[in-house]
């Protein structure tokens, strides 16, 4: 039982990474209607950026640990910076393709993803080699009824839940949130109602990329290694998580992320390759029985 609980803790910590990343996929899909394959690379940019920020702030660190204020500052800067990069990517690469066939936006996203991975790789001071991530959060371990849990895990799970709570309320309770929902329902009608589409889409990309940066920082805090390719497969899995939950639905992305994280940890404890494939198997099963995902609603084609 305690082993199962232990796996549940690991599943929750991985699941919160997936959930935060999946939120970006689902928001962009819901509002622009495109699959942003470059989204996983925002995670990498966030983690790598935090690595360099931590280096820049290393004079403030005492014995390799940072004070809470500095960590908050680093987190904030990394998230805002990545968010701005997300807005820039959208403005340069995706905006001109907004009214073109979906597939060309998808291929452009693949190109953007290749660029985001290989541009830092080609820069001499970053390069392809993996780096060990600094300890930003305190790592005190303690045991509750045979389950090992560290403060890092608690902080990241709680923080991601806080982020999700804030996002959920922003989307459902604020003006910009209702503009987002209007846009995802009917783009043309929303425009006719005086909603500034470009602004809403930019904000969506900002939020998505900032959340991806946060998930990158959390991921690198539990598996302390960063390199330029880390976003690729994490992105694919989070995307799968978003689809399992029902793409376009925010609650679905959170649910899908946690489902992915927990099942992956459980399956990995049996066999590591099974852990990789289980998410895809779940995806196919869910799509066969519920073609729009757990939370998604099927739309009917009209002629």
């Amino acid at each position: 039982m305690s082993t199962l609980m232990q796996f549940l803790v690991y599943g929750l910590q991985l699941g919160s990474v997936y959930a935060l990343l999946a939120l970006g996929y689902t928001m962009v899909y819901g509002i622009v209607g495109m699959i942003n394959f470059a989204h996983g690379d925002f995670l990498m940019i966030g983690a790598l950026g935090t690595f360099f920020l931590a280096q820049a702030f290393s004079s403030f660190a005492v014995n390799g640990t940072y004070s809470g204020l500095i960590v908050a500052l680093i987190l904030f800067t990394a998230m805002v910076g990545t968010g701005l990069i997300g807005v820039g990517v959208e403005a340069i690469a995706y905006k001109p393709l907004r009214n073109r066939p979906k597939m060309s936006a998808l291929i452009t996203a693949v190109g953007v993803s290749m660029f985001l991975e290989n541009f830092p790789r080609a820069l001499p001071f970053i390069g392809p080699s993996p780096r060990s991530f600094p300890m930003l959060f305190p790592t005190k371990r303690f045991q509750i009824q045979g389950v090992m849990i560290s403060t890092t895990q608690i902080i990241m799970i709680v923080l991601s839940l806080v982020f999700m709570f804030i996002l959920y309320n922003v989307v459902n309770r604020t003006k910009i949130g209702s503009q987002m929902r209007a846009l995802s329902m009917d783009k043309d009608a929303a425009q006719l109602m005086g909603i500034n589409i470009n602004r809403v889409i930019s904000i969506t990309f900002f939020i998505g990329a900032a959340l991806a940066a946060a998930s990158g920082i959390f991921y690198a805090s539990i598996y302390p290694q960063v390199d330029v390719y880390m976003g690729g497969w994490l992105g694919t899995k989070s995307f799968i998580a978003a689809v399992i939950g029902g793409i376009g639905d925010i609650r679905g992305a959170m649910l899908g992320g946690f489902i992915m994280g927990i099942t992956e940890i459980l399956a990995t404890s049996v066999n590591s390759n099974l852990g990789y494939a289980i998410g895809f198997v779940i995806l196919i099963l869910i799509l066969l029985f519920k073609p729009a995902g757990i939370m998604g609603k099927l739309t009917i084609d009209k002629v």
């Binding site: 597939m103 291929i107 452009t108 190109g111 694919t236 073609p291």
Partner: protein
């Protein structure tokens, strides 16, 4: 006489191309590395044509095509290396064994294509894309689990049967078969589904059936291409056929132009050769994929239909007039463009 020449001209062109490259090789303008790049380009062209049949002509989104390629590569290698013993095959039996292997690879890929096509092709658009992505990754994870074929380490000791002539032969064969498929009754049904699925359905086209036909056909070609690839490399590994490979193929297809066989040839050839050519500029080595990515984004932004979307070279088209002249219903039937309104 004239139509005969027109028919023979492309074949003569291909033969001339082969001898030109062999000549360039003999006078040492091209080294074995160049030839190998061209062989990979050939395999990529076949993969792109295969993807084009699904994505470009039938309008379905398959983004896990590397899965079929890996099935074909493993299927063919199991036949040539594990059943017939690889290098110990008698020299005069090598070609039949090689062809048998390629056929097996194609059949395995086609059968799996049928198996996953029946439930998934009912899904639409993005969801189909996602399922095919998942399919590719499941194939990879499964191959990593099977111990007799080397699991994650991969399979070694595959005899390098594929040479430039074989690649050229199969590329030309694929082009001819694909062209004939596309302009057949079945191919036109697929194009109708691409243009408007609901209208095609209303016209009495069994949309699911034709989607599955084109999917299985494409999977078969991908399997053969995978078999060729395995016998160039003489080493295959599940991780070669990851999502990165699938997205490369998508890039070849969409940069070349969907719905155009000429575009597939051009996209597969140019985009295989470009990264290799950028390798030769010493100080650019690290930047080559960046340049490649930027090129791709620029193509998509300024030529959204790809380099030759919807356009074809003449010998990849079938003269439509010809079809109407042979009409069995009335001898006087005319081409629609000539009917008075």
């Amino acid at each position: 006489m004239k139509p005969l020449i027109r028919k023979l001209l492309p074949i003569l062109g291909v033969v001339a191309l082969y001898y030109l490259i062999m000549y360039l090789k003999s006078i040492k303008v091209m080294n074995p590395y160049h030839i190998q790049v061209l062989m990979f380009a050939g395999v990529n062209i076949m993969m792109t044509i295969s993807l084009n049949i699904v994505n470009g002509f039938t309008g379905q989104f398959c983004i896990g095509h590397a899965g079929f390629m890996s099935l074909g590569a493993y299927g063919a290698s199991i036949v040539t290396t594990m059943i017939f013993g690889g290098f110990s095959v008698a020299p005069n039996l090598r070609i039949p064994v090689f062809l048998l292997g390629l056929l097996a690879g194609g059949l395995v890929a086609g059968a799996v294509g049928l198996l996953i096509g029946i439930p998934t092709l009912k899904l639409k658009g993005d969801y189909l894309a996602i399922v095919t992505l998942a399919f590719g990754e499941i194939v990879r994870a499964t191959l990593r689990l099977i111990e007799p074929i080397g699991a994650a380490r991969g399979m070694i000791g595959i005899p390098p049967y594929t040479n430039f002539a074989w690649v050229l032969f199969f590329v030309v064969l694929t082009l001819i078969v694909a062209r004939n498929f596309i302009y057949s009754k079945h191919g036109r049904a697929c194009i109708a589904i691409r243009d408007n699925e609901i209208a095609a359905d209303a016209m009495g086209i069994n949309t699911t059936k034709y989607k599955i036909i084109s999917f299985v056909f494409a999977a078969f070609i991908a399997g053969v291409a995978g078999g060729l690839y395995a016998h160039i490399m003489s080493f295959i590994q599940p991780d070669t056929f990851s999502f990165v490979k699938s997205s490369d193929l998508l890039v070849y297809l969409y940069a070349g132009g969907t719905g155009s066989l000429t575009g597939s040839v051009l996209g597969g050839l140019l985009l295989t050769v470009l990264p290799e050519a950028l390798r030769t500029f010493g100080n650019l080595v690290n930047w080559r994929i960046v340049i490649y990515a930027v090129t791709l984004v620029i193509i998509m932004l300024y030529r959204p239909l790809g380099l030759c979307g919807g356009k074809e070279l003449p010998f990849l088209k079938i003269n439509r007039k010809h079809l109407y002249e042979k009409s069995i219903f009335s001898k006087k039937s005319v081409h629609p463009s000539e009917t008075p309104n």
